[in-house]
Amino acid sequence: MTMTEENETITMQEEEQIHSWHSQLLRNISKSLHDFRMADRPGKVDMLGKWGLFIPAVASTLIIVLILAFLWFESVPILVDPSGGPGIVVSPTWDPNRDLFGIAIFIVGSLLCAGIAIGLAVPLGIGGAIFLSEFCPMRLRQPIKMIIEMMAAIPSIVYGLWAYLVLVPIIKNNIAPITQSPTNGLSLLAGGLILAIMLLPTVVTISTDALQTVPLSLREASLALGATQSETSRKIVLSAALPGVGAAVVLSLGRAVGETMAVLMVTGNSLQIPYSLFDPTYVMTSIITNQLGYAFVFPLWRSALFAVGLVLLIMSICFTLTAKLFIRWGMKTRGYI
């Protein structure tokens, strides 16, 4: 008897809460409808625009959350399985036939490949941007920039084909003999190089735009103090544009870890951790593309591939956030915000 009474009070309280929540929502909706009805025509257009734009804004944030959730649900089987578990990210053995799903090789491969690419593309790209924005004759700037922008439009598979036929043999015949390392050319170095070439246009064009927004008066102030043009472009222009250049690096970071086709074609895809530039390697995107077809009917195998995707997404989110924090810090020390 007492039990039922208690239960009833609880339900009543809950109902009341739900009721009040409902009524508040209703009140909000009716209020905005009332506002809408009372507004004049431009006011109505404004309100419609506000609500209409709210949807895409929320949708784009929702998509990231939904993708994360989807990858999480798909990788749960491997993460709770005794043969898997969260330890797979540090385990180096990938052998689906023996139910060994260590993905450390791919993480290392991806990080090394992206590291080489970023290490090459960022300094070169910034150098190119400085040339284009500070030293290049006005008449040449636009044509050169246009050609570089076209580079960004080349499909990655085409880069892959070119690398496979040109870059890989060059590495095999011309570069590897320098250190006398045995290789067939399909290597970490090839992957890093082709990625770097693919990232260059992004870095150059975005950095050039950032450098161009630095006001002329800053350059004049530096020159008027007796600085040379190269000192001015390095110490003033580049420093002033650093947040913008940082944005270029963020974008290319995302692309570097996420790029698939070209890297897949030239890295050799061998299940080992590379110890030299000329060793073949296997990156995260490649293993997913290569094995998803076979793995689809094996729940654990399939789930392991989704786990690779999850780690990839988390990694790229982390990179972006770190870079954003760095950019924020840069803006603060420069008095932009």
Partner: protein, 254 residues
């Protein structure tokens, strides 16, 4: 060292941007430890003349020049003159405050570091003396590491003056340094200019007659690229010899 009378002398200077004739055969000199005002209506070539003195016009590809500008007796456009060395000796303050997007401290040490000062103590000393000379030290001494663009407009302009003074140039060029500022900040900077002339030769571009009267000792009046009058400021403003000068002073042109 060639003999010379004044830090800066201009002999028969004509300049062009492309086909446009800007300055027409200008001859004048700037006395040491005085403020010389260059006056004239907009577009008369005041800024061009000023920027010819530290060769900042060289940046414009279509710039051409005839005639001599002598700094301590040597032609600054002559063979073998280092433009970087020249600009170290002729400082410049611009119309709009343009502090570098870095800390107050780094703004002032930028110039000295370029010219090879590395010693930490010396840099600290330069920062203090430059900021003191620019009457800014008391306001910013506790926030030397904060970003310069966060200062107020007037403070930014005084920081720019301190930055120009940091390499200790004997000559200071000022291109309408207060025209972008509020009246109170402007008055402060005018006071500062009068104080600075004890140690520096100051050349001030202005289109404000009252300002020229308040701060300058001698004045040059330019009109459409010609040097119409060049004399003591008082004499020019009280008894202009040329009708164009009179028209400018009384506000009929400008």
């Amino acid at each position: 060292m060639p003999e010379y009378e004044h830090n800066i002398e201009v002999h028969g200077l004509s300049t062009w941007f492309g086909k446009k004739h800007i300055l027409k055969d200008i001859t004048c000199y700037f006395r040491d430890n005085t403020v010389t005002a260059i006056m004239g209506p907009s577009g008369c070539g005041k800024s061009t003349l000023l920027r010819t003195l530290n060769r900042l016009n060289d940046l414009v590809p279509s710039f051409r020049r005839k005639g001599e500008v002598l700094f301590k007796g040597t032609d600054i456009y002559g063979v073998g003159t280092s433009v970087y060395d020249l600009r170290k000796h002729i400082g410049m303050v611009f119309q709009k405050p343009n502090p570098f997007p870095m800390s107050v401290f780094d703004n002032v040490t930028y110039g000295p570091k370029l010219h090879g000062v590395k010693d930490e103590d010396e840099l600290n000393k330069i920062v203090e003396t430059s900021l003191r000379k620019a009457a800014l030290w008391d306001e910013v001494k506790d926030e030397l590491q904060s970003p310069a663009p966060n200062l107020s407009g007037g403070q930014q302009q005084r920081l720019c003056i301190a930055r120009a003074l940091s390499v200790d140039p004997p000559v200071l060029l000022m291109d309408e340094p207060v025209s972008a500022l509020d009246p109170i900040s402007a008055a402060k900077i005018e006071e500062l200019i009068i104080e600075l002339k004890q140690d520096y030769t100051i050349i001030l571009v202005t289109h404000n007659v009252q300002q020229a009267f308040r701060v300058s000792d001698q004045a040059a009046f330019l009109y459409l690229g010609e040097l119409v009058e060049f004399d003591e400021t008082k004499r020019i403003l009280e008894a202009p010899a040329d009708s164009r000068t009179e028209a400018f002073i009384t506000g009929r042109i400008g």
